[in-house]
């Protein structure tokens, strides 16, 4: 089963994402900040990362930079933000995100992106 | 004062603003057979539209301003009024 790591300090958001992803049959792990997410990598790399930006301890950018510097299989990363600003998007891409979405992401949209990034068929 | 009322007619002038909607509604509640004179009215805020649509009062005079009159007729005349503008030059 494809494994997805959801990284967000808001439990509500984690629950929201978990609900959507699990209903599509993916295995979901959670981390409450970038630091904890890095620790979770000890379990092995994930197939996809869903990363919030603003988090205590280590934010989303920081996590992605650390992740991309590691010599492990590099799964795609979705950066989820509440900012629709160009600057943040560029920063997300530079840090290692593969797509930048604005919260709240409607279930159908999120799922489509996840399917694309996990190589799952859309039909 | 854009609204003048008598016992049977409410005369609206220039602009019926969002605040006026409440007054128009109150007047129509108290005067179920009251008529509305919109001849000198240029624009009515959408809130007034709602009040007029819900109350369907008799219109004593339609606005002189055609665009407003057209919309009011479309809104207030029961049958689906089709207003075909043959040549508006738009």
């Amino acid at each position: 089963m494809k494994r997805i790591l959801v990284i967000d300090d808001a439990a509500t958001v984690r629950l929201y994402h978990r609900g959507i992803l699990e209903s599509a049959g993916f295995e979901v792990s959670e981390a409450v900040n970038g630091l904890e997410a890095l620790e979770r990598l000890a379990e092995g790399p994930f197939d996809l990362y869903l990363v919030d930006i603003n988090m205590p301890k280590l934010d989303g950018y920081g996590f992605l930079r650390e992740l991309r510097a590691k010599d492990i299989p590099q799964g795609p990363a979705i950066m989820v933000s509440t900012e629709a600003e160009d600057n943040d998007q560029r920063r997300a891409y530079a840090s290692g995100a593969n797509i930048y979405l604005i919260k709240p992401v409607k279930p159908a949209r999120l799922l489509a992106h996840v399917l694309t990034l996990l190589g799952e068929s859309h039909s | 004062m854009p609204i003048d009322v008598s016992d049977s007619v409410l005369v609206a002038r220039e602009l019926l603003s969002v605040e006026d909607a409440e007054s128009v509604l109150d007047w129509l509640i108290q005067h179920p057979h009251g008529q509305i004179d919109l001849a000198d009215c240029n624009h009515v805020h959408a809130a007034n539209f709602q009040v007029l649509m819900a109350a369907r009062p008799k219109i004593a005079a339609w606005p002189q301003r055609e665009t407003l009159a057209d919309w009011l007729r479309a809104a207030l005349i029961q049958e689906d009024t089709i207003h075909v503008q043959d040549d508006s030059g738009s």
Partner: protein, 815 residues
């Protein structure tokens, strides 16, 4: 309740509390960047959470708060008291919404909070007012949805547009056909303004009136009109439908601030024009493999966005240390995208391109590879592009497509089962209080039932003469007794609450009151994690608030007065809690003006609380304690803060009701120190059983000083009161039967001695004459329910081992 909503509410409350705390902290130390960051993050996250639900009022206010905090963070706006006030008010509003949602939500959906729209607008504007350049229009939260105008598949929009034309009157249809044939661009528009739009200063009709003359129009309502008196003129239910002769782009631009409220369809593409439709399908088949035609709008969007994003990543010219990983992630993303489209990445040369990119530390090779691939177009390749918002495209169901992926997407996501699955990881349980109360009652009954065993043992021995059995019963009893006590203790632990439950409101309270009074006060709180029984903590809330208000109002001086007295201008108020054996001690200390015993003496005398002789005899401490006397208030004038008709006597009684005591020390000019001592738990009470008028009553042992037998002849009447001398001290006596209004004389024993229960009330001794004093027992005190609850003089009732009910007297209230 929907677990997601539930989670949101719980987390929301936590956030609000944290936001409040941080704001107060910031006010004290406005230069702390870390605090501002924290605060921004909290508001930001809360706003994000609220966006998951349809609570535009909350989101609006939080959005404004977030923007403001962002400005503070960037140094564009200085943190000020005014700003804190405004933010606190905004958070109060959010808190109100959360409470309302928690209360009203039944089917898992938050109720409409649209009746707060006005407040939300006002608060949002007030917050933005504080920013240097408040933007004209707040950014639409789902801007990208609206901004990237793309389109649905043809199969999705065409049948609907056809239907639309079918419904038009014949004359209009002909007119439209003719115009289309002449190449005129025509659009159908439906505009459904949101219900709260009037409160946002919008006039949908103005929007519509600005458009050119329509070819056809319909003005309707989303629901039937109610009778006039019930009409809400300010809830917009209007619905405009028009056909116009304009380009779709013009309409999109015209309605750019309300993209989610309009539907726009270009009629050119929808008309049965053989030439146009042929060319459209042709161009599509030219550029895209047929298998892509069935992609859902979401899938199409995700593929296009993903491709676009990878391009943007690849053209980045920075060269960070993690570039390799970033390139490999792009490679993995592109490979997944191909697989998702049913193509084999290996056959496309992607891997080679990635290797070349890694070798050259540049995205160039991958970019080149991207350019050589064929991808689904973001917009169907029709000659006349249909302008629709993405949102609209997503909503339009594709008639032919019933694939599983689309289904999953369309069905509401079910969270319920997932929440169950998560239980395994939950470490904290939230339990309804009634369940704990039930456990409490059960253990109470258990203690009582257990108490029947010694009776049974005694009976076995005395009545039936089976000593052996009596011993066994006693052994069993001690086992059950131990377990019952442990259970009791365990349940007690569950009921323990930290005093922070009450303390947490003090920072805000102190701040607000101090501001109002123009005083500078520094609040210090200690020992917030000290725990006590829930009932105690709850009973503590009001008295403590009153005491704190008192300190602020009467105790602490204004900065000028303090300076004049040679004190630092900022007053200090300390509230601390700690546990000492089986008591919780709460101390409230201020360094204010203190209480002047002479002033108290004079007032007490003026109010006829004491007579002249007492006036002279009273020590300073005794004088200060007069503050607790009923009807005493030292305030020169009643302020709206502490003078709410509640005196210190009420505070003391409230504390006494939970078997607590209060001690007050004060020095003129130096400050006042209040000490509350409370039991850790009030569940088990040791009472003495007494008899009077043939009934049994319990008296809490903590009130009982001693029990004595007093010969009737030693009782004198002094100043019409019964008194006796005990150990050289004059003790007033009252008969319990008199107190209870029972018309029966107390019964003396054979030696004509009366049983007297000496109780101590605030250092005064009083003898209560009863018929007999019996054993002491442990009971679980239950408050009197129903109409009995109004009876004063009783603190509650308890079940006894023999099943009878014992009423527990409250000596303080009896007198």
């Amino acid at each position: 309740m929907n677990p997601l909503l539930n989670q949101f509410l719980t987390e929301g409350r936590d956030f609000l509390e944290a936001i409040g705390a941080k704001l107060l902290e910031l006010e004290r130390a406005p230069e702390q960047g870390a605090l501002i960051d924290d605060l921004f993050r909290l508001v930001h996250t809360l706003k994000g959470n609220s966006g998951l639900f349809d609570i535009p009022e909350m989101t609006r206010v939080l959005h404004a708060a977030e923007d403001l905090m962002d400005a503070v963070r960037d140094g564009r706006v200085a943190f000020s008291r005014e700003l804190a006030d405004q933010l606190l008010e905004a958070m109060d509003f959010v808190s109100l919404l959360i409470d309302e949602i928690a209360e009203a939500s039944t089917d898992g959906q938050p109720p409409s909070t649209s009746h707060h729209a006005k407040d939300a607008v006002r608060l949002g504007a007030a917050l933005r007012e504080l920013m240097p350049e408040h933007p004209q229009t707040p950014a639409v939260s789902d801007a990208p949805d609206a901004a990237s105008v793309s389109a649905g598949t043809e199969s999705g929009s065409r049948p609907e547009t056809d239907d639309l034309l079918d419904n038009l009157p014949e004359s209009v249809r002909h007119d439209i056909q003719d115009r289309l044939a002449a190449g005129e661009p025509l659009c159908w528009l439906r505009y459904r303004p949101e219900e709260e739009c009037f409160f946002k200063g919008e006039d949908p009709f103005f929007q519509i009136a600005q458009l050119p003359e329509p070819l056809w129009r319909r003005l309707g309502a989303r629901e039937d009109w109610p009778p006039l008196p019930e009409l809400d003129a300010y809830r917009c239910v209007l619905e405009f439908e028009l056909i116009l002769s304009v380009e779709a782009e013009t309409l999109v631009e015209h309605f750019r601030y309300v993209p989610d409220q309009v539907e726009i369809r270009s009629l050119s593409a929808a008309m049965p024009d053989p030439a146009a439709s042929a060319s459209s399908s042709e161009s599509q088949s030219e550029s895209e493999p047929s298998s892509w035609a069935g992609l859902s709008p979401e899938a199409r969007e995700s593929i296009c966005l993903t491709l676009e994003a990878q391009r943007e990543i690849l053209v980045l010219s920075d060269n960070p240390s993690w570039l390799g990983g970033r390139l490999r992630a792009v490679g993995a993303t592109l490979a997944a995208l191909l697989t998702s489209l049913g193509r084999d990445p290996a056959a496309t040369g992607l891997e080679t391109a990635l290797e070349a990119a890694l070798a050259t530390d540049s995205g160039t090779y991958l970019l080149r590879w991207l350019d050589h691939q064929t991808w689904p177009a973001s917009k169907p390749a029709a000659p006349e592009p249909i302008a629709e918002t993405v949102r609209e495209a997503i909503m339009a169901p594709t008639a032919t497509d019933s694939s599983p992926a689309t289904k999953t997407a369309d069905e509401p996501v079910k969270f319920g089962r997932r929440a169950d699955d998560q239980l395994a990881t939950v470490r904290t349980l939230k339990v309804d209080q009634t369940k704990i109360d039930r456990l409490m009652n059960l253990i109470g009954e258990m203690v009582v039932a257990k108490n029947a065993l010694p009776y049974l043992a005694a009976r076995a021995e005395e009545r039936y003469g089976v000593r052996e059995l009596a011993r066994e019963i006693k052994t069993q009893y001690s086992v059950i007794n131990r377990i019952a006590e442990e259970m009791q203790d365990a349940i007690m632990q569950v009921r323990m609450l930290p005093v922070s439950f009450v303390f947490q409101r003090f920072p805000r309270l102190v701040r607000d009151v101090a501001h109002k009074l123009g005083k500078d006060v520094r609040l210090v709180m200690e020992g917030e994690s000290t725990e006590a029984d829930k009932n105690i903590i709850e009973a503590l809330a009001d008295p403590l608030i009153h005491l704190v208000r008192n300190s602020l109002d009467h105790g602490l001086e204004s900065p000028e007065q303090r300076r004049a007295a040679g004190k630092p201008p900022e007053g200090r108020l300390t509230i601390s809690a700690r546990q000492e054996s089986d008591r919780v001690l709460i101390e409230i200390t201020d360094d204010g003006r203190g209480i002047d015993p002479d002033v108290i003496r004079r007032k007490a005398y003026e109010k006829k609380i004491i007579d002249e002789t007492t006036l002279e005899r009273l020590s300073d401490q005794e004088a200060i304690n007069l503050i607790f006397a009923a009807g005493f208030s030292t305030a020169e004038q009643v302020t709206d803060l502490s003078g709410r008709g509640v005196g210190m006597d009420v505070v003391r009684n409230a504390i006494a009701r939970v078997h607590g005591s209060i001690d007050l020390r004060s020095r003129v000019g130096e400050g006042t120190h209040l000490r509350l001592s409370l039991p850790l738990s009030m569940a088990v009470t040791n009472v003495m059983i007494i008899e009077s008028a043939g009934q049994r009553f319990g008296v809490p042992m903590d009130a009982v000083a001693e029990t004595v037998r007093v010969a009737r002849r030693d009782i004198r009447v002094i100043k019409k009161r019964l008194t006796t001398v005990l150990r050289g001290r004059l003790v007033p006596l009252v008969a319990l039967n008199d107190l209870l209004a029972l018309d029966t004389p107390q019964i003396a024993n054979d030696d004509d001695e009366l049983a007297v229960l000496v109780v101590r009330i605030e250092k005064e001794y009083l003898g209560i004459i009863v018929d007999d004093c019996r054993e002491t027992i442990d009971i679980i005190l239950k408050p009197l329910a129903g109409f009995l609850g109004d009876l004063t003089g009783y603190s509650g009732s308890a079940l006894l081992g023999d099943g009878s009910v014992l009423l527990i007297l409250n000596p303080r209230e009896l007198l």
